[in-house]
Amino acid sequence: MDKPNFFNDFKNASYAQNILSKIRKFQNEITIMEFCGGHTHTIFKYGIREILLQNVKMRSGPGCPVCVTSNEDLAKAFVLAKTPNVILTTYGDMLSVPNEFGTLEKLKAEGFDIRTVYSTLDALKIAENNPNKKIVFFAVGFETTAPATAASILKAKEKNLKNYFVSSVLKFTIPVTIALLKSGEVKIDAVLGPGHVSTVIGSEIWNFFPQNYKIPCVISGFEPLDILQSVFLILKQIAENRCEVENEYKRAVLPQGNKIALKILNDVFEPASAFWRGFGEIPESGMKIKKEFSEFDADLVFNTKIKINEKNTACRCGEVLRGLIEPHECKIFGNPCTPENPFGPCMVSSEGSCSAFYKFNKNTILT
């Protein structure tokens, strides 16, 4: 057997045609929601929505961590960045997200020390190299990203670093999927399960979709062929009257996930109520730093409380995230809201629906 090529074999156009011909044998019309911004990106990049339109409608859900960060939580980053002697570190996407205070990018241009990092370990290095400064990592993300933040706190404790802090707006994905289904606002026939979140939390945990909501779920990889194959598996389940969790992304996702990563996450964080853009407060959906690590909790060490004025803006990211509207249904989509001049987070992050829709909507390279 040939060795698989993890890059090219999953983009092969002739295999794509083969899967598509199998998909087109099904007649039923269904709506599938993808709960992961990475899937949204691939779906738009490869024109998968248009290819499938005959019978399958893809809807994006609240799968982009930057997009679901509420304005209150975002405001904390501005307060922290302006705190004397603080170096604010965060992942790159956060810098261009606009809110009533402007963007972190603008603050940085004004001279505040804000640095983007690739990894929390880079933030730790900044802390070690700047013993007289206080380094705060503004942590955004889901279960995929949270273990890396938790690991940085464990490392800081091990190294006895007294100048490293984390402000966590990290979130658990399952509560928001349940909130969305319970709201009944969108009709979903099946779910494309988030591949990389599942790398950490496993595939079995998604059994509540078929068991409690009678919705089939296929955990999918991120290459275009993974997504097509997952759509095929969903159609097949429905045609055969089955309703279960299937794992298309077996090369990376185990039934129980990554136990080490989960342990690291659960050692440091505990569930707490959190605010989501578009959804409001969802109980047990936030990751709060546990008491035993409170010395690293930036929200306790610094005063991050701030009152914000929820202005009525034209941005409809909340509805986009709930799957209620498509990006182009927003009046200012494309004019004036563009990735260069974003009015909301969904146009900033590469995983945001508005950004993906704007950049790739005309691509249909697989047909």
């Binding site: 799968g63 990894s119 890396a148």
Partner: protein, 69 residues
């Protein structure tokens, strides 16, 4: 943000590894995975290997892509 990419392990030094991501060499942490060797593929996310990629499962998936109905 949940983007994770396949990378090939070039060198292991304790809990760290040097990996090749489509020609770009990066140092990553192996804190969250076990039993990996030089030459293995791992899924990398924000500087950490999140999972070892199974060549056997990858090959099976590719075979499934080729199957006709």
């Amino acid at each position: 943000m949940c983007l994770a990419v396949p990378a090939k392990i070039l060198e292991i030094n304790g809990q760290e590894a040097k990996v090749d991501i489509l020609g770009i060499v990066k140092n990553i942490s192996l804190l969250m995975i076990e039993d990996v060797q030089k030459g293995d593929f791992v899924l990398v996310h924000v500087g950490f290997a999140l999972q070892k990629l199974s060549e056997k499962e990858a090959q099976k998936t590719i075979e499934i892509f080729k199957e006709s109905v």
